[in-house]
């Protein structure tokens, strides 16, 4: 029973430097482990797949004659392979492409790559089932659709054809050279936006990547939840400042029931509307055309219901852009493509047209005719090569939508009726769940 020793340290620092060295080392190791873990979590999930559906398989065009973007794009489709089945990330690495690698691309290469990353909604040519249950609706802002990437202290927006719209500092993660709170070099984000000229604002319609985490494989429901909670947090919705040149804003998204559709259609917003966007809640972000995102418009919610020509006038006849194949068939940008007819060999030879060219046609008075809901014949009139800035042919749904706008448009009342009739049906058969 030794007497207790109550001696206390006298004039001594309570922590020795040796202990401090030990602790700092442990701290350093813990930090590095955290970095390694973070890197593993991000790298693995930021892989963007190049499996965007291209304008269909075509033979390789000769590269030299015309350095047109369209041709190069068509050539890219060579690399398109259907993604491997199975869960997780079982895709083979050769078809994966990291956005960070992509950000190192320059000029045409960069444009090519970015051009195929956007999800392109089909035009609504008939009303999908279960609108109130499975779909969101929002009012689409009028403006330039673009792809905003923030990384390495700079934010770059690119248009649908891959060309740069703005290069600017922003409050998005990694979007400016200020010290980011998260501090990580892996911190970068990718947004699907519409740039609205009037208030110089990027309206965010979808989120693909946030702080290095990929949202590609997430449902729309999740992406919108994420978008709404994260965007404001980041300060990207704050007014412009030195390190944040443009304001970002989330577009209000509603459940597509009667109230939601009404709100999107008539509700006041800070931007000029250009139709309504519909998103299937379960759909992943998928580059290229998809029937799981739809766009619809009428005169009340859009200034540009009927397509205009390059001078801003509505042409008498509807114009379409189609892609020429090597068997002279004219196809849409869909996957698989829809064939609208074929071009006479004479014209091809005379005009020096080649496979992969995008060509402009007018739909003549013969119009389009359908058999069993499928396009049977189109009365096409060749107008010439399309504008060089075009990256893709028109999609089938776009042509049909424009056609129906001119002939028998789908009206808002049709949408509302579809919603209420579905509601009724739901009530009648409460236990029948239709799952596809």
């Amino acid at each position: 029973m030794a007497p207790p020793d109550h001696r206390r340290p006298f004039k001594r620092p309570t922590i020795s430097d040796q202990q401090r060295r030990r602790e700092l080392s442990l701290l350093r190791q813990a930090q590095h482990r955290l970095d390694a873990q973070h890197r593993a979590r991000c790298l693995a999930s930021t892989v963007l797949s190049l499996e965007a559906p291209g304008p269909g398989p075509g033979p390789e065009p000769e590269p030299e004659p015309v350095p047109e973007l369209e041709l190069e794009l068509a050539a890219e489709s060579e690399h398109h392979v259907e993604g491997g089945g199975g869960g997780g990330d079982s895709r083979s690495p050769s078809k994966e492409f990291d956005v960070r690698q992509a950000s190192k691309l320059r000029g045409a290469e960069a444009r090519k790559w970015f051009a195929r990353q956007l999800m392109l909604p089909e035009w609504m040519i008939d009303v999908p089932d279960r609108l109130p249950q499975d779909w969101y609706v929002s009012a689409r802002p009028a403006g330039k659709r673009c792809f905003v990437v923030s990384a390495d202290g700079i934010t770059v927006s690119r248009l649908r054809n891959g060309s740069v719209l703005h290069r600017f500092p922003s409050a998005l993660p990694g979007g400016s050279r200020t010290r980011d709170v998260s501090g990580s070099a892996q911190s970068y984000s990718i947004l699907d936006c519409i740039f609205h000229e009037l208030d110089q604002t990027y309206y965010v319609i979808d989120m693909l990547c946030w702080r290095g985490y990929s949202l590609y494989d997430c449902t729309a429901e999740f992406r919108f939840f994420w978008l709404n909670s994260k965007l404001v947090e980041s300060g990207a919705c704050d007014p412009p400042s030195q390190n944040h040149r443009y304001r970002f804003s989330a577009v209000p998204v509603y459940n597509c029931d009667e109230n939601g559709l009404h709100a999107a259609y008539t509700g006041a917003v800070t931007y000029i509307k250009d139709g309504l966007l519909f998103y299937n809640k379960q759909a992943h972000y998928q580059a290229g055309n998809t029937p799981l995102a739809l766009v619809w418009k009428d005169e009340k919610c859009s200034q540009y219901v009927i397509d205009t020509d390059s001078n801003g006038n509505v042409p008498r006849l509807q114009q379409v852009v189609l892609e020429l194949q090597d068997d002279f068939k004219l196809i849409t940008s869909d996957d698989p493509p829809v064939v609208f007819g074929s071009l006479d060999n004479d014209i091809v030879q005379k005009s020096g047209l080649r496979s992969g060219y995008l060509l402009k046609f007018a739909i003549s008075d013969g119009g389009l005719s359908f058999v069993d809901g499928r396009l049977d014949r189109a009365d096409l009139q060749y107008l010439g090569k399309s504008n060089r800035a075009r990256a893709f042919a028109d999609s089938y749904s776009k042509v049909i939508f424009q056609y129906s706008v001119r002939h028998s448009p789908l009206r808002i009342d049709d949408l509302l009726a579809a919603i209420s009739s579905r509601d009724d049906r739901e009530n009648e058969h409460p236990d029948v769940e239709m799952v596809d």
Binding site: P3, K11, R21, S25, R33, A36, S45, Q282
Partner: protein, 872 residues
């Protein structure tokens, strides 16, 4: 044999080495051949009044040492060995021991007391020897004084040895009754009274129930207070020791007695002999400790539902306590600063004053300032030193608003005293006080700086000058410089105010390390520690100067390795120096290796440095090994994959470190270095993984290795898996069952104390980090399906952690991250499993709305990964 044992025991204490050796061998042989016989003859020897006192005492001590060991593993073996003995043998041994308590020989009684306590420590928790307490207490009041003394001493030892749960409450009551009666002033025999008072000290932990009963508590407190007034100094000291123990164990019960205790302690501090006065001061220091803890808990949580309320005893006693303590400051001993072991009333009083300042904050300042002003310029060094010490003591606790104006006035005075005061004692305390000013009132967190461009140069000049003073003053000057530098550490990349003096500071510190007398007063250590801190706060403009230091430090280390034929004492000093030099290089590596601007130039030294570190491993010193290992870890991280070229040579030392159970700190550090290597080498570590994993698995299954090393080993599995990816496959069959059983063990913490809960959480964190690393390592590999069979258990583990609600924030963060990693790697295959788990719902939602940024971030990651997994 029984006849011979006495002679053998006497021979074992012979001054003749060969006789002693022979006797020890005989004893060892006896023990190995016939353990029960050996124990019986030892017990018999101890109990035999005919035998010489020396052989009896040694017999008892050998018996005691055969029942207990410091090392856990060995201790367990000894306990099992005793329990396995024949019941009759055990009973006979116990009888001998109990009988010895009434021996006329004090040594025999006291030895028997200790052996009985050891046996009680083994048997009572097993519910054996139930009659022990009863036997001891039977007729205690009728026993002769010497037996009564031995019985009380035995009870005290038993309380020290056994945990309170192992003793029934009615036995506790009986023990306390006997002890308190023995302490009572009516007890005429001082030996009995002293034994009783010392026994109470150990029995206090058993008295929870009795302290909750007002009458019993009043009685115990009255007897203790009376004992502080005993004419016998040892009893007074022991009684004050009881008061100290009561102050920390039963703080919340003290209010009715505090006034009386104050009067008793005040009298003791002023008038009593030093050992008693020291305990009286310690009572107040201990009250400060309690109130500081309680108030800290208040500070972090304003709900005020802290278990123990603060009674503000110190605040109430302040007007009388402060003068009392200030008075003690004037009772310094000459040269106490040169004596490492010194502890006197001035030191205890000053320490208590510092604690009071931390307890009450601003209120202490007006009570101390008059004393300082009165004494600081007096001709007697004692007065100047006491005033300076008082000022230094109150610098931690009161607010900067209160202190900064005072420090601004005092700073110049102190600087000049450090240069000019004729007393070394005053200079020592002055340098220490400057250090305290910089420690608590200087740094980027403070609004009004006490160090400005105007006085910075003077401060540095004075400190550097003072570093040439006698060792104890120079050591304090180094300490002051340490905190001066530390205040600039987090200033960022802008040029530091120290930049103009940086070269001079480095040179001065380096010169101190080379002083002939640097071995005194811890001066060399202080100089290296300060050098380390100065290196840590170097900036881009001063790092070239640090770079110039590197060859010098390496040369110093080289010289220690060349030294030949050293005495044990010299070798010890040499090893200590190697530790300091490796520590310094480690800090430099971390600093220069982490900046792109300096890294490449610095790494030119890597080969040489590595060569030196490897040579340090051939010296036998745990501290030096530890420091060298830490330095190598830092170097591996700085060199990255280039470290591969050192691996073949370094590997055997790495393995040695992982096998070092004895110096478990070395083992722990080495495990951390494996992590560094994984991150530096990535898949290039693969050739060494078989060896490393074998060693780590051995470590985990060893019951000799200190438990604190096990959690980092699990984390290390994660590091390895992350580095070598799917190549971890072959270790899965070993690692996964280990993780699984550790997970099961750690899933529940119910009933554990704070230490155990903390350990359990660190274990959980290690396990979870392992899972995280393994999942991420396998991610994207075709072999991910190998992990599928483990998923249900891992999810269950997460669920049980969530249900247990005893996780700390770190575990929560790691756990929810593992959920994400699992989903991320296993994808849709694990979707249904994940959706069934509670973790993916309630736990995840709770984490998503956490205030903790790290938890929230991990939870977001998990939500994302799950959402991908279940929607594919």
């Amino acid at each position: 044999m029984a006849m011979e044992v006495t002679q053998i025991l006497l021979n074992a204490q012979s001054i003749d080495g060969s006789v002693r050796k022979h006797a020890e061998d005989n004893l060892k042989q006896f023990q190995e051949q016939n353990l029960p016989g050996f124990f019986l003859s030892l017990a018999g020897e101890l109990a035999n009044e005919e035998k010489p006192a020396e052989s009896r005492k040694l017999a008892g001590l050998i018996l005691k040492n055969a029942l207990d060991a410091k090392e856990q593993h060995r201790k367990y073996e000894l306990v099992q060995r005793w329990l396995a003995l024949d019941a009759a043998v055990k009973a006979q041994i116990k009888n001998c021991l109990i009988k010895t308590l009434s021996s006329p020989s004090h040594d025999a009684r006291s030895t028997a007391s200790q052996v009985i306590a050891k046996l009680a420590g083994i048997e009572l928790p097993q519910k054996e020897w139930p009659e022990l307490i009863g036997t001891l207490l039977t007729n205690i009041q009728q026993l002769p004084a010497h037996t009564k003394q031995a019985t009380l001493e035995t009870l005290g030892y038993i309380c020290e040895e056994v945990s309170p749960e192992a003793v029934e409450q009615n036995h506790v009551n009986q023990i306390l009754t006997a002890v308190v009666q023995g302490m009572n002033s009516s007890e005429a025999n001082n030996d009995v009274r002293l034994a009783a008072t010392r026994a109470l000290y150990n029995a206090l932990g058993f008295a929870q129930a009795n302290f909750s009963n007002d009458m019993e508590r009043d009685y115990i407190m009255r007897v203790v207070c009376e004992a502080t007034l005993s004419p016998e100094v040892k009893i007074r000291q022991a009684a004050f020791e009881c008061l100290v123990a009561i102050s920390s164990t039963y703080y919340e019960k003290l209010a009715p007695y505090i006034h009386d205790i104050f009067n008793i302690t005040a009298k003791a501090v002023k008038e009593d002999e030093e050992p008693v006065a020291l305990q009286a001061i310690e009572f107040w220091s201990s009250i400060c400790d309690e109130e500081i803890d309680i108030l800290e808990e208040y500070g972090s949580d304003f709900t005020g539902d802290s278990e123990v309320p603060c009674f503000y005893f110190i605040k109430q006693a302040l007007p009388v306590l402060i003068p009392l303590l200030l008075e003690t400051l004037l009772k310094q001993e000459e040269d106490q600063d040169q004596d490492e072991g010194a502890w006197n009333i001035a030191m205890a009083g000053g320490t208590c004053l510092g604690l009071v300042a931390r307890t009450v904050g601003d209120d202490i300042v007006p009570l101390v300032m008059p004393f300082i002003e009165l004494n600081i310029t007096k001709p007697d060094w004692r007065q100047r030193e006491a005033a300076t010490y008082a000022f230094g003591s109150i610098l931690e606790g009161p607010s900067p608003e209160k202190l900064v104006p005072l420090v601004n006035v005092a700073l110049n005075f102190m600087l000049s005293a450090l240069m000019k005061d004729p007393s070394n004692h005053v200079k020592d305390t002055t340098a220490w006080t400057l250090g305290r000013m910089f420690e608590f009132l200087h740094g980027s967190m403070l609004e009004t700086p006490i160090i400005t461009p105007a006085n910075c140069q003077q401060i540095v000049t004075v400190l550097l000058q003072s570093m040439k003073d006698v060792p104890n003053v120079a050591e304090k000057a180094c300490g002051a410089l340490y905190f001066l530098a530390q205040g600039y550490e987090d200033m960022g990349p802008s040029p530091s105010p120290l930049t103009p003096f940086f070269q001079d500071i480095l040179q001065a510190l380096y010169a101190v390390t080379r002083r002939e007398d640097a071995g005194e007063s811890r001066l060399r250590t202080a100089a290296y520690e300060t050098l380390n801190e100065v290196v840590r706060c170097s900036t881009d403009d001063t790092s070239p100067m640090v770079m110039q230091l590197v060859p010098h430090i390496m040369m110093e280390l080289h010289q220690t390795l060349e030294a030949q034929k050293l005495s044990t004492d010299e070798r010890e000093k040499q090893n200590e120096l190697q530790g300091l030099l490796c520590g310094c290089l480690q800090v430099i590596i971390q600093k220069l290796g982490s900046s792109e601007a300096t890294k490449y130039v610095f790494l030119q030294y890597a080969d040489q440095m590595m060569g030196l570190f490897l040579r340090v491993f051939s010296c036998r010193s745990a501290t030096a090994h530890e420091e060298a290992m830490l330095a190598i870890g830092a170097l591996a991280y700085a060199t990255g994959s280039g470290f591969e070229k050192y691996m073949s040579e370094f590997y055997r030392y790495l393995e040695m470190g992982l096998q070092n159970f004895e110096d478990y700190q070395v083992c722990a550090i080495t495990v951390g270095v494996v992590g560094d290597l994984c991150r530096a080498l990535e898949d290039k570590i693969l050739p060494y993984c078989d060896g490393i994993m074998t060693q780590l698995l051995k470590d985990l299954s060893s019951n000799q290795l200190h438990r604190s090393v096990k959690p980092p080993i699990f984390s290390c599995f994660g590091d390895i898996a992350l580095a070598i990816g799917e190549n971890f496959e072959k270790y899965l069959i070993y690692a996964m069952p280990m993780l699984q059983s550790a997970a099961e063990l750690s899933a529940h913490t119910s009933g554990a104390d704070d230490d155990m809960t903390e350990y359990t959480n660190s274990l959980r964190n290690g396990i979870l980090e392992a899972y995280s690393g393994i999942f991420q390592g396998f991610k994207g590999s075709p072999k991910t399906q190998l992990l599928m069979p483990y998923a249900p258990h891992i999810l269950q583990f997460l669920d049980s952690l969530y249900m247990e609600k005893e996780m700390d924030d770190v575990v929560t963060k790691t756990a929810i991250g593992v959920l994400g990693d699992l989903a991320d790697t296993l994808g849709s295959n694990a979707g249904p499993l994940i959706q069934q788990s509670i973790s993916s719902k309630d736990f995840l939602n709770e984490c998503l709305s956490s205030d903790d940024h790290m938890i929230k971030e991990s939870a977001e990651w998990a939500k994302l990964a799950i959402s991908r997994a279940i929607s594919i």
